[in-house]
């Protein structure tokens, strides 16, 4: 039983890292729908680096770096050039989907390194994730920088007028968000499931993106949501633990995705929007032109 819980929490850290990065992005007003692409690239870079050098640490470094760089690339398009953020995000995702399939395929198979040591069976990434949630919450809601980030996402013109460098703040956030997405991908390929295969994420990034909307842009609710989805994901992989022999295991695989849709509907109802949905950054997805 503990094994299942530990495994679920490990799965939830992957959702958590990526979603936390996206949350920081969105708080500053930048929408990145290509989150899955950043995770694919981060995960593949981490896997290839770790396998060639034999070092987990270098793998994580590669994942973080590439994730951050791609985040900056999205930032360049959406902040500097003021392009459509959905076009750029989708472009990033298809670019990653295509290129990682090609670049990673010679490495298809297990990583072949030792497992990352665990604490009583629990992956060390879960405590790291909880710590990151706390840090993000402190950063966003208890520091001046956090206020600057949030105001850049709510009303960039007013923020700029009060002396906040909106462009720099947004670039900082997309870089941080990209690094966290890269970390998420690296955690997947180096720790959770250290095997590379074609399109290994199969929608994890999009579930993470949905989690940000569920979280009402609050890191603690995000932690709860990610844990819930981690458990659900793990149960969908081994449904025989709860309902042995009921339905095919393939039908159970659809459950985490199927549950996402009604939750998205609930948080989109006018009742929810007026009562709870006010946390949505006002300037989300809108390019900001100075002056």
């Amino acid at each position: 039983m503990w094994e299942l819980v530990a495994r679920s929490l490990e799965a939830s850290t992957i959702f958590l890292f990526a979603a936390l990065g996206e949350l920081i992005d969105q708080r500053s007003g930048v929408l990145n729908v290509g989150l899955e692409g950043l995770m694919l690239f981060g995960g593949t870079a981490a896997f290839i680096t770790a396998q060639t050098t034999g070092s987990h640490a270098l793998g994580f470094l590669a994942g973080l770096t590439l994730g951050g760089l791609l985040g900056l690339g999205h930032g360049f398009f959406s902040i500097t050039l003021r392009g459509d953020q959905v076009v750029s995000g989708m472009g990033l995702w298809i670019l990653s989907f295509g290129l990682t399939t090609y670049l990673g395929s010679p490495y298809t198979g297990p990583l072949g390194l030792g497992r990352i040591p665990s604490l009583w069976g629990l992956s060390p990434f879960f405590p790291l994730g909880v710590a990151l949630v706390a840090i993000t919450w402190l950063l966003l809601f208890r520091t001046g920088l956090g206020l600057a980030i949030r105001s850049a996402g709510e009303n960039p013109a007013a923020a700029e007028a009060s002396g906040i460098p909106v462009t720099s703040i947004r670039f900082l956030c997309v870089a941080l968000g990209g690094m966290l997405a890269g970390l998420s991908g690296a955690t997947y390929t180096l720790s959770y499931n250290p095997v590379w295969n074609y399109n290994f994420l199969m929608g994890w990034g999009f579930v993470s993106l949905a989690l940000v909307f569920f979280s009402m842009w609050n890191p603690w609710i995000l932690l709860a949501g990610a844990s819930l989805f981690g458990i659900m994901w793990q149960l969908s992989l081994s449904p025989e633990l709860i309902l042995p022999g009921v339905l095919s295991r393939y039908v159970w695989r659809t459950v985490p995705f199927a549950i996402t849709i009604p939750i998205l509907c609930i948080i989109s109802t006018p009742w929810f929007r007026t009562r709870w949905g006010l946390a949505k950054p006002e300037a989300l997805g809108r390019p900001y032109a100075k002056g």
Binding site: F77, G83, G91, I94, G98, F213, V251, I261, L264
Partner: protein, 381 residues
């Protein structure tokens, strides 16, 4: 950006003539092809030979040409599936899911009517084929329309919903054709049952009738957007939803309609690839590969800038490239996924060309007065 005495700025382009649109598309494609040279560098063959292998197989080898034609039909339907909602400003990335829905529904017709056994055809085969096509279109429309309805009624993000539907339908197909699922073939290889030969799609010049359908739709869609009130409404809604509402356009009906159409087109792509291509006539074990190829439809529609007729040559080129690349990969012993890498590169050059399409570089000299240093001493007196 300031460079010495000059200033470099990005300015919106005031007008974009049609020739310019075509030119950016050509440049984006050529650039992606040039970049894809890097993919062939890892093999021992000379670059020119690699390209020759790709193109000669795709467009001159009899087997290759047929494969290119089939893939073109498939990708054309996927392109329309993305293009129609995109004209209304909505992103349908549920192409794989809608393709699977179409494939499953087409196979459900002979399955439900118990006619997959050729001895017991309950209805005339011609009628059954029409039923299969209709069922596929209906299932795809339902899958797409679901996302469109949620978008219209509740403003639920259509990217997330269609992506979730992709995963759901991917596993549903796995359930249907694996581990004793209802559609599993008698030989049990993780494939569906094969269709009896009487249910094979009728051929015209060796090509299924879906080819005619695909080309007719290309003409009809361009007419729809250029000449009809409905097309105008869709475009207006896509350009500026708020203004369109003031103009009396009902967003709910429109969002639903474009997704119903889009889903039905993707499902026809599914029907074509799983039930109409000679030699296939079943859902293959590697159906995920065919589903993901549908993403080429996204890039084709984007590069064609929403013109369905304009997309036809682009799609034929992409189909040939992906067929040829798959062939060259085996010949030149390249890693798997050359076709996907090309997809990624195309997306990259498209986004770059998108910037140049909307903006132009302004390059002007800063007037020398503006550059004069501020006087540091107070004037006398």
């Amino acid at each position: 950006m300031r460079l010495g005495r000059y200033e470099l700025t990005l300015e919106p382009r005031p007008a974009r003539p049609a020739i310019f649109t075509a030119l950016t598309a050509v440049v984006a494609i050529l650039l992606a092809l040039a970049l894809s040279s890097f993919l062939f560098l890892s093999s021992d063959t000379r670059l020119i030979d690699a390209y020759r292998a790709v193109f000669s197989y795709a467009f001159f080898n009899p087997h290759g040409v047929l494969a290119t034609v089939h893939r073109s039909i498939y990708l054309l339907f996927c392109t329309y599936a993305f293009l129609v909602p995109f004209r209304a400003g909505l992103w349908n990335i549920g192409l794989p899911g809608q393709v699977y829905a179409g494939g499953l529904a087409a196979f459900a017709v002979p399955f439900v009517l118990r006619t997959h056994n050729p001895q017991t055809l309950a209805l005339p085969p011609g009628l059954l084929i029409v039923l299969m096509i209709a069922a596929a279109a209906a299932a795809g429309a339902a899958t797409g329309g679901f996302a469109g309805l949620l978008r219209a009624k509740l403003q639920v993000n259509e990217i997330l919903v269609t992506m979730m539907l992709n995963s759901i339908l991917f596993w549903l197909v796995a359930y249907m054709i694996k581990e004793g699922g209802p559609f599993m073939s008698a030989t049990g290889e993780g494939e569906s049952f094969g269709l009896p030969s009487s249910l094979h799609a009728p051929l015209l010049l060796g090509v299924p009738v879906t080819a005619v359908l695909a080309l007719c739709v290309a003409v009809l869609l361009d007419l729809l957007f250029a000449k009809t009130a409905l097309g105008y409404r869709i475009r207006a809604f896509g350009e500026n939803p708020a203004a369109a509402r003031y103009g009396g356009i009902i967003p709910v009906a429109l969002s639903l309609l474009v997704f119903l159409l889009g889903g039905a087109f993707a499902a026809l792509a599914g029907y074509h690839y799983f039930a109409a291509v000679p030699g296939v006539y079943k859902i293959p074990g590697n159906y995920g590969y065919y589903g993901d190829l549908g993403f080429y439809g996204i890039i084709a529609a984007l590069i064609a800038r929403g013109s369905s007729l304009g997309a036809v040559p682009i799609v034929v080129l992409f189909a040939g490239l992906s067929v040829g690349a798959r062939f060259a990969q085996g010949e030149l012993r390249l890693p798997f996924g050359v076709d996907y890498a090309l997809l990624g590169l195309l997306m990259m050059t498209f986004v770059a060309s998108h910037v140049l399409y909307h903006f132009r570089f302004g390059w002007r000299r800063i007037p020398s007065e503006a550059l004069q240093p501020v006087p540091t001493e107070l004037p006398r007196g």
